[in-house]
């Protein structure tokens, strides 16, 4: 079982994260670049920057660019950015602003 990389609520990380196989859970604030297999942005989470991943779940505040295979935008999400994904789910309630297109 891979250990999660967890950014707890209130925590602030700025920089570049190459998470490898470790899934990333953001309940705090992250600014910068994340390369990961899986990224989960919690309802309390805030992200500003770029994400390259295979699977992304957004329930918090996202600003920036995102490239992924699978994208799931939850009802509590607030999104402003450029999203590229091959599989998209948006739940009612989500606020989305920006562009959505296919990854490949």
């Amino acid at each position: 079982m891979e250990s999660y990389t967890t950014i707890t609520e209130g925590m602030i990380m700025e920089g570049k994260l190459d998470a490898g196989q470790s899934p990333v859970l953001i309940a705090g604030f992250f600014k910068g670049e994340i390369n990961a297999v899986e990224v989960i942005l919690d309802a309390s989470g805030m992200f500003d920057g770029q994400i390259n991943a295979t699977k992304v779940e957004l329930s918090g505040n996202f600003k920036g660019k995102l490239t992924t295979e699978e994208l799931n935008i939850g009802s509590t999400a607030s999104i402003d950015g450029d999203l590229k994904t091959n599989s998209l789910v948006i739940e009612l309630g989500a606020e989305v602003s920006g562009t959505i297109g296919r990854k490949s």
């Binding site: 891979e2 250990s3 999660y4 707890t8 609520e9 925590m11 602030i12 920089g15 994260l17 470790s22």
Partner: protein, 133 residues
């Protein structure tokens, strides 16, 4: 999935700044400066940067300038750089290749103000590093 513990996972590499965290566990590789209450570097962990903490448990690699109230170097610890401590525990096998400085009155400032207890100067362990001049 525990979202109350700050962790840098075993496979992860991070370069940047980390702030506003009380307790963090490093299983992967981190290049950053850190000010926190507690830092734990796991056996697979590597931390490079400046550290200011109340309590540090080093089970992996560390290189940099560390100022802490209490440092515990476990048997898998590999420490380079410089460590300033008030209380230091070294397990058998810990590799200290660093400068080791004992601070009497230095107030280690972390997230909250902590009043350190003034300790008797009995050496708890044999420090392999250079002695304080």
């Amino acid at each position: 999935m525990d979202k109350s513990k700050a962790v840098i996972g075993a496979d992860a590499k991070f370069v940047g700044t980390i702030s506003n965290v009380k307790s963090i566990e490093i299983e992967g590789t981190v290049e950053a400066d850190l000010k926190a209450e507690k830092l734990s570097i796991g056996s697979s962990g590597t931390f490079i940067g400046e550290v200011n903490c109340d309590l540090v448990v080093i089970g992996g690699s560390y290189d940099g300038m560390m100022r802490a109230g209490s440092i515990w170097a476990t048997q898998t610890a590999q420490i380079a750089g410089e460590i300033h401590y008030q209380s230091l525990q070294m397990d058998r096998g810990a590799a200290l290749n660093c400068r080791v400085v004992h601070n009497w009155e230095d107030q280690v400032v972390a997230v909250e103000d902590v009043e350190p207890e003034v300790e008797e100067p009995t050496a708890q362990t044999d420090a392999e590093g250079k002695a304080k001049e």
